[in-house]
């Protein structure tokens, strides 16, 4: 596609359930980033992939959060045993090469997760 695509756009789940959020980056972009944006806040870094490997996962808040990118394109963010505090918009971004070299990230429209 022309841009970064994220699905679902909105997800409502119950506390304790498992959730998967998908990100389809711009074709050919090797770098992929996940951010979490709580209401009224700036996005917070979660994890960064370069190709298939997680180059930096220092932003994942705990072991309930996990992300994969098995073929170096689509990425899935997985949240186990969801808690109400996980409610947020999860943003995905991609860049050609590393953002550090290109100086540009392209963002999707995010997936809004609501945990009841």
């Amino acid at each position: 596609g022309a841009g970064v695509s994220q699905t679902p756009s909105n997800k409502v789940t119950e506390k304790g359930k498992y959730v998967e959020l998908r990100c389809d980056p711009i074709s050919g972009h090797t770098a992929l980033y996940w951010y979490r944006q709580s209401l009224g806040q700036g996005p917070e870094f979660l994890i960064y992939f370069q190709g298939t490997g997680a180059a930096d996962d220092s932003g994942l808040p705990n072991d309930r959060f996990f992300a994969v990118r098995p073929e170096g394109s689509v990425s899935t963010l997985k949240i186990q045993r969801t808690e109400r505090g996980d409610s947020a918009v999860y943003l995905c971004a991609s860049s050609l090469g590393t953002a550090r070299n290109t100086g540009e990230l392209f963002f999707g429209e995010g997936s809004r997760l609501t945990v009841l």
């Binding site: 700036g42 870094f45 550090r100 963002f107 429209e109 809004r112």
Partner: protein, 112 residues
């Protein structure tokens, strides 16, 4: 670790006026990028303007310009001839050797 601070949670101006949004950052790196992103209710982050730290000249994109003061670690955004469509959240962001770090945002409202 890098930090980005936006000290104005909300701002409001009349259409056609000029408005300046403030941003300061903290880093020990010498080579980096600074950005201003716009986030309308659609949630998508839209790049407004970008500045490379090694360039002394302030970046300009049509009605948007920045005042980059490297020594002071300040990076403000000026919007001239503001339009109703400029209403949005604006985020300042820093990109160094690691990940993109965002400020807390400024909610800008342009009134008719």
């Amino acid at each position: 670790a890098q930090t980005v601070t936006q000290s104005q949670p909300e701002m409001s101006v009349q259409e056609a006026e000029t408005v300046t949004l403030s941003c300061t950052y903290d880093t020990s790196e010498s080579n980096y990028y600074l950005f201003w992103y716009k986030q309308p209710p659609s949630r998508q982050m839209i790049l407004v303007i970008r500045q490379e730290a090694y360039k002394q000249q302030n970046a300009t994109e049509n009605r948007f310009s920045v005042n980059f003061q490297k020594a002071a670690k300040s990076f403000s955004l000026k919007i001239s001839d503001s339009q109703l469509g400029d209403t949005a959240m604006y985020f300042c962001a820093f990109l160094g050797a690691q990940k993109l770090v965002f400020g807390q945002g400024t909610r800008l409202t342009i009134n008719p």
